[in-house]
């Protein structure tokens, strides 16, 4: 969706301000927000694409004025409520008011955290059809504006690029983000000249690579 998360090329935010000796967390609540997000993800009630879509479908004004762990927390609360795991009244009261229900996977045990983090969540998948494009092919990204989840940024739609690498088969976020199946697709690193993306005044030394699933591309 064309939400506030799709920031590439926007202007007016001012300089990037690195923080000297930045701590890993700014306040104890950020630690809990991170841990809650990962522990709730482990329940198997949604996947990473659904989780990203929950964050990016926040109101743009809310998204842009929230810190990153606030965005995570707001996305998490949306998911928990939509799956009837937690109610708004319970969060307001700060206590459970209804019995828990069975989840797709059991809660993450402390003893299993290390193995779960080391395992991660690989999303490469075998595809039983050949890749449509090869290294060196010229392609054009499709001009799509889906109302649902997509990983094709606005600044790279309808643009001509070149296939630089064929990365393999991966879960397709545009369907997986709506619980409509993993639907694995070939992924390619596609390189665009800066002037193709930003016009003739662009930095002539710039090229941008994005990773595109095959349905985002058409042959020139």
């Amino acid at each position: 969706m064309n939400g506030a998360q799709d920031l590439g090329g926007m202007m007016g935010f001012g300089p990037v301000v690195p923080e000297a000796n930045e701590p890993i967390f700014h306040g104890a609540w950020e630690k809990r927000a991170l841990g809650l997000t990962l522990c709730c993800g482990a329940l198997g009630e949604w996947n990473i694409d659904i989780s990203r879509h929950a964050r990016e479908s926040l109101h743009p004004a809310d998204y842009l004025s929230s810190s990153y762990y606030e965005i995570w927390t707001k996305g998490l609360i949306k998911l928990l409520q939509s799956r009837q795991l937690v109610s708004a009244a319970e969060i307001a009261a700060g206590h459970s008011q209804q019995p828990a229900r069975q989840t797709n996977r059991p809660p993450l045990k402390p003893a299993d955290v290390d193995a779960a983090l080391k395992r991660g969540g690989p999303c490469d998948r075998t595809i039983d059809r050949p890749a449509a494009f090869s290294v060196g092919d010229q392609v054009r990204t499709r001009n799509i504006n889906p109302t649902g989840h997509t990983r094709l940024p606005r600044y790279a739609r309808g643009k001509v690029g070149r296939i630089e690498r064929v990365r393999g088969g991966y879960v397709f976020p545009d369907t997986n983000g709506h619980g409509a199946g993993e639907n694995p697709q070939w992924v390619y690193s596609v390189v665009f000249d800066g002037r193709e993306l930003w016009g003739q005044d662009a930095d002539p030394s710039l090229s941008v690579a994005i990773d595109c699933w095959e349905p985002y591309l058409e042959r020139l």
Partner: protein, 232 residues
């Protein structure tokens, strides 16, 4: 290539309005801190979350998984041509040789800086970042200014970090739109022939592995770090 101190002091950074919801503001918990606390209580009472699991996750990223991991990968690549080749062919497997695997590092790609090309990594759509080698991303990496500017004005971003590239150098920006996670292999600084991997790793900053910085020059490393490397 030059690298100066960033033009913003720590005090400027602190005044900047980003992510500074410290838990206690005027003696009370901030609204978001209260909300997170309420959420944790509800989820714990329902049995969906074990607070000790949260502690274990936090401890992992506070003490074990951070940019020191990536620095070891880079230093080994600088010193070991066979390892560099394995990184080029299958970065995920080569990085796993050093024990670095897992969440947000499942599908790794290493991109090499050369005298003619500088690489910069961003995620314009969210905050994709190679956790297994760099730990959790800094606030600026997740923030709107960086995500907006990196793909259209990377030299402007580098200037914000006090880095100037020669005008003829090409810049390749990698927007992490899929599940591939990118680690920049910075150029090895001159004057480091014969250095041990441990000593080389002290030159590899987090920002140099994102592309917003360069590896440190040997003379900029503190005497303590040098003596530590020498004693290894």
């Amino acid at each position: 290539m030059q690298q100066k101190s960033p033009p913003h002091s720590a005090a400027d950074a602190h005044d900047h309005a980003h992510d500074h919801d410290h838990d206690y503001e005027a003696g009370a918990l901030s609204p978001i801190a209260l909300r997170v606390r309420a959420l944790e209580t509800v989820l714990t009472e329902k049995g969906y979350v074990d607070p000790a699991s949260i502690d274990a996750i936090v401890e992992t990223y506070e003490t074990r998984v951070g940019p020191r991991n990536g620095a070891r990968v880079v230093a080994k690549a600088w010193n070991d041509p066979a390892y560099l080749q394995r990184l080029r062919e299958n970065a995920t497997a080569a990085i796993a040789e050093l024990g670095f695997t897992g969440r947000q590092g499942e599908h790794m790609v290493v991109v090499e800086n050369t005298p003619g090309q500088h690489n910069l990594v961003v995620c314009t759509l969210c905050s994709c970042y190679p956790w297994s080698v760099l730990g959790l991303p800094p606030v600026w990496y997740k923030s709107a200014p960086f995500r907006a500017k990196a793909v259209i004005d990377p030299r402007g971003v580098l200037a914000d970090f006090g880095v100037t590239l020669p005008p003829e150098a090409k810049i390749r920006v990698w927007d992490s739109t899929a599940e591939l996670r990118y680690l920049v292999l910075p150029s090895r600084p001159a004057g480091t022939v014969g250095w041990s991997e441990e000593k080389l790793a002290d030159l590899v900053t987090r920002d140099s592995m994102i592309g917003t910085g360069l590896a440190l020059m040997p003379e900029s490393v503190s005497p303590e770090a040098l003596s530590k490397g020498a004693s290894a």
